[in-house]
């Protein structure tokens, strides 16, 4: 134990260290399209940048690749030249010492420091058997943490073999594994198309793509479509793949049930009305080995909320960070880019990342040579496309009428529709109280998968509007061994002043503990 006088002395020494040392100017959380663009833009402007990402390799979900690189699976990737450019510039910056790249580091918390900077607390899983903690203190922060598939519960969705479209894609791009052999792809949004095309190209039998929306919605939004001509060309490319592999594409069609005992063996489909409700008498059941399903995306909102960023709920039901024209949040030293400012795809993310990197550099008194005007125009154009996309591919209300009492809503805590109805009978009047009474959203994933459904189901039962932002804050972003937190204390020192803290679990090495005392 140290005395309080020692503690004060130590704190003073740490403060001195912070001001005296060249602390990293910018921390970038996320090495996907937005984070990469932000990191290289800032580094090329003269900032010292630390990039933190949970993945094995850079690229995020969009440019996820296996050991052989993006080029090895060229047909599965878009904008390869952009990735090659960002990746080469990152390599140069790393070699020059202006970027420190921390892969397999999962950020579990952010803390705001008294001087307006941020400390990033991450679990280093480079040795999966022995996680350690690392803390990065930075004057500026770019959050580029991306999004994940949004899910809606339906009977049987917890069966093995039912997975997100993002999972099917990640397995294909990251590990070269084709789920299948017979895959049905369902949900809503343009993302269904590349996943189905990729699976078919790699040998899976895609028994159908079932899109809940109808593309006629684009006809009323042609200017937005014109704003993103490459997306139209991309869609045409998928149509060609679908024709070649004879993949049936059905619109206004949804999966309402998955069947099986130990894994999914069949799914029941139904047609939707133009208002997104199930049309009676349209059910049919088809055999499958895998169902890949997803209804758009949900932004990873917990780190922005930890950083006290102002958020809003976008029309597609995502909790998104509010940013100004330069990607600054309400804290001018915290910037946000990519899906967390509103879901819109990788091209938009790259434009926003560039703007965030340039803004961070300017805020640090440096000059950026990046073409900000061009990136801004591109961002605004792609944002218009994204807004239209959300209108064309809304979450259909059909799922609410297809639930059974024993349909699982919260997968982690195995909370059913009946449990949620019980909570409402007990007096819960909002998603948060339902969560407290039923444990829906209180498991490992902290409501990332079921939060949307719990809020919407509660509101539906009560005839109110769902409060989608209510369950989005998660003070601990990813599970972290308690021993790491206990040893680190609650008031983090800058990374350079604090040695890496070994996880005392499973077996502490007495010598190494001694060393870090």
């Amino acid at each position: 134990m140290i005395s309080s006088a020692d503690g004060a002395q130590q704190a003073a020494a740490v403060t001195a260290a912070v001001t005296a040392q060249a602390r990293p100017g910018l921390a970038v959380v996320g090495a996907g399209p937005a984070g990469l663009a932000a990191a290289v833009t800032a580094a090329e402007s003269g900032m010292a940048v630390t990039v933190v990402d949970a993945g094995l390799r850079i690229g995020g979900q969009y440019w996820r690749h296996g050991a052989a690189g993006v080029a090895a699976d060229a047909d599965l990737h878009h904008d390869r030249a952009v990735f090659a450019d960002l990746s080469a510039r990152l390599d140069r910056a790393v070699a020059a010492g202006s970027v420190r790249l921390l892969l397999q580091h999962q950020v579990w918390a952010l803390t705001r420091e008294g001087d307006g900077g941020t400390t990033v607390l991450a679990v280093d899983r480079t040795d999966p058997a022995r996680p350690t903690e690392i803390r990065v203190a930075a004057n500026h922060l770019v959050l580029a943490v991306g999004a994940y598939d949004r899910q809606l519960p339906f009977p049987g969705w917890d069966l093995p073999g039912v997975m997100t479209v993002g999972a099917a894609q990640a397995l294909l791009k990251g590990s070269g594994v084709v789920v299948g052999p017979r895959v049905l792809v369902a949900g809503t949004g343009p993302f269904l198309l590349p996943v189905a095309a990729g699976l078919a190209a790699r040998g899976a039998t895609v028994v159908g793509v079932h899109e809940a929306a109808h593309p006629a919605g684009w006809l009323r939004r042609l200017p937005a479509l014109g704003a993103a001509p490459t997306k139209v060309a991309e869609a045409a490319g998928y149509a060609a793949v679908f024709a070649r592999h004879r993949i049936p594409l059905r619109h206004r069609s949804v999966v309402v049930r998955a069947h099986g005992t130990d894994r999914v063996t069949a799914v029941t489909l139904a047609r939707l009305s133009s208002r997104g409700r199930v049309r009676p008498g349209t059910r049919r059941t088809v055999p499958v080995d895998v169902l890949a399903v997803g209804y758009g995306f949900t932004a990873q909102s917990e780190l922005p909320l930890q950083a006290a960023c102002a958020v809003r709920v976008t029309p597609d039901g995502t909790v998104a960070v509010t940013v100004d024209d330069e990607q600054r949040t309400n804290n001018p030293r915290v910037l946000a880019a990519g899906e967390i400012t509103g879901v819109g795809g990788a091209q938009l993310a790259v434009a926003e990342g560039l703007l965030a990197g340039a803004a961070a550099a300017r805020s640090a008194g440096l000059r950026s040579h990046a073409d900000v005007a061009r990136a801004r125009a591109r961002r605004d154009r792609l944002r218009r496309f994204a807004t239209a996309m959300h209108q064309v591919y809304p979450v259909p209300p059909a799922w609410l009428s297809q639930l059974d009492g024993d349909t699982v809503v919260c997968r982690c805590e195995e909370v059913t529709v009946a449990d949620i109805d019980d909570a409402i009978r007990l007096g819960a009047r909002d998603g948060r109280t339902v969560k407290l009474l039923s444990r829906s959203g209180m498991g490992w994933c902290q409501g990332r998968e079921c939060g949307y459904a719990t809020s919407c189901l509660t509101a539906h039962r009560l005839g109110t509007e769902p409060d989608l932002a209510a369950g989005a804050d998660r003070p601990v972003a990813t599970p972290v061994p308690l021993g790491l937190v206990a040893r680190g204390g609650l008031h983090p020192a800058p990374a350079d002043a604090l040695p890496r803290i070994p996880n005392p679990n499973p077996i502490p090495d007495p010598n190494s503990l001694e060393e870090h005392r």
């Binding site: 594994v177 130990d262 805590e413 990813t478």
Partner: protein
């Protein structure tokens, strides 16, 4: 790095860069957890470390996400039953 790891005692091959979850699926294994409350089978769901459905036990340590854990030769991977901490229950 290619090789094999053990899943419930059976060898599972993997190729360079694969995760444990990907290698299991490639071997036709779709489920590797039984849930705590209803003893239901679970496997890989989100595939990117968000949902925690694909938890399994690796070298005696439970709650490892199969979708994130890189496959490595000689790992002792086991189906996780419940919390995977039955040893702590008296």
């Amino acid at each position: 790095m290619t090789g094999t790891f053990a899943f419930d005692g059976r060898p599972v091959p993997f190729t360079e860069g694969q995760t444990v979850g990907a290698a299991l699926l490639a071997s036709g294994v779709y489920s590797w957890r039984r849930t705590r409350r209803r003893d239901r089978p679970r496997g890989l769901f989100c595939g990117i470390g968000v949902c925690f459905d694909c938890l399994l036990t690796v070298d005696g340590v439970p709650d490892q996400r199969a979708c994130l854990r890189p496959a490595a030769p000689g790992l002792d991977v086991r189906t996780q039953i419940g919390t995977g901490r039955d040893d702590l229950v008296g």
